[in-house]
Amino acid sequence: MSSSTDSPTLTTETTQLSPQPDTETAKPTKKITLKSSDNQIFEVEESVAMEFATVKSFFEDSPSTDTVPLPNVTAKPLSQVIEFCKEQIKFKANPDEAQKKKYNAEFVTEKSDKDLVDMIPVANYLEIKDLLDVLNQAVADRIENKSVEYVRSFFGIDNDFTAEEEAALRREHAWAYEGVDED
């Protein structure tokens, strides 16, 4: 067998994006103030705030306000959500799928379970679809291949099956319990 047809080398070809001229607009960007439920104030650029569908529609309804109260949102997850959205805006201006994927992956890896789970209701309330996708997938990845007991404690759920019922369920789909990761 000749090696030239049998195992051709794969080369990668990347289309180079046309270099973007540095057109950082000099005009001052409008700031919007967000107020968390624990009364912390966040000043963010308008473009970032508009990533939050909830905030956006708040402004459409009452354009004259300058502070948006967020009664369901505490400061810590909010600051993390803002951090995420700031980065996403950079990717919008300069699309780079690989870099975006890398950033999104790093963003969730460095967070604790609690941080992730705390951010989900915030992303949900603010209707940030991209972030919600990233977070849901990240949580799914963390509970994947874990024991049932681990998943229960992760979500704070009580077992409402009797021991017999649970044993019967485990027999029904025994293959699904093979190869559990350590908690």
Partner: protein, 359 residues
Amino acid sequence: MNSRDGFLPDEVVIQVLARLPVKYLFRAKTVCKLWYKLSSDKYFVQLYNEVAAKNSVVLVEVSDSSELKSSLICADNSWGVSELSLDFLKDRVKVRASCNGLLCCSSIPDKGVYYVCNPMTREFRLLPRSRERPVTRFCPDGEATLVGLGCNLSVQKFNVVLAGYHRTFGHRPDGTFICTVFDSDTNKWRKFVSFQDDRFTLMNRNQVVFVHGSLHWLTSVCSYILSLDLNCDVWRKISLPDEVIYSAGNRAHLLELDGCLSVIQISEEWMKIWAMKDYESEEWHLEDRVSLRCIRGMVPGIFPISQTREHVFLATYKQVLVHQRKSRVWKELYSVKNSSPLPLWFSAHAFRTSIFSCN
């Protein structure tokens, strides 16, 4: 749901569970009664199938040199390569068609025995033997020329189609095309006969596409697509793009693209992706044109198997490749190490995960 510490709203939990691979979803059934019921809830099933549909994979049957044992390899852009087992069928089978998470398999030792299974949930259905079988002799070899599977996720039903030329014992086939259709709701076969003269290559036969309630096959002369409308049992012809018909030396392959019929045209230098966005008007639209320069040496032996908006998956003799359309990057997903008697593209199918129950 027990929301003792008010910690995640139910709709969020549903979104997380919809992203779990099937195995872990089934394991999660034991978490609590609500989660147990959830996995068969109609809304959840729909959501799960939608999320999973974004992840298209290539399924290849790899047989070892003795050809006695074969395994199914699932190659996928985000989860990598995994092995899929059909051992739960307790039979030696060959995958004949794949549609929306279900596989139609034929038994190797028992001719005429067909299964439809969901390899992810390990549910399967043994199809009743069609009563026509002893009377009908499909040509050649008594095997149906076309095996198709149409699986409608929204109404949870599927059809299996076996079609081929009829041959009376001792005679040449006379153009009588026999078609038997299995309906999962009635658990019965129906039969109808037509007269036609279409030819199919092996690759044409493997690449059956189910969209708009019809099954589609490309014919070997590459001038039209043969379609079977499963609602009214009518065969008809659909034209290919002019450029595909009239360019000499090009190959064409039939795939699905986001619920649309799609044709991949391969010439020496280009791979063109055509899609029929509006099924009624039968107008073709050129979706993309991909340079084959970086895989030049391989072009004669590449076969597109499956695609999404972002990726095209192709099989060669020993490799599964993926092309990322946005970044224009080619990558190898999988390769067989030892020499296999059959090329990978010979038994490669597009596949996606679903929790469709075939019972």
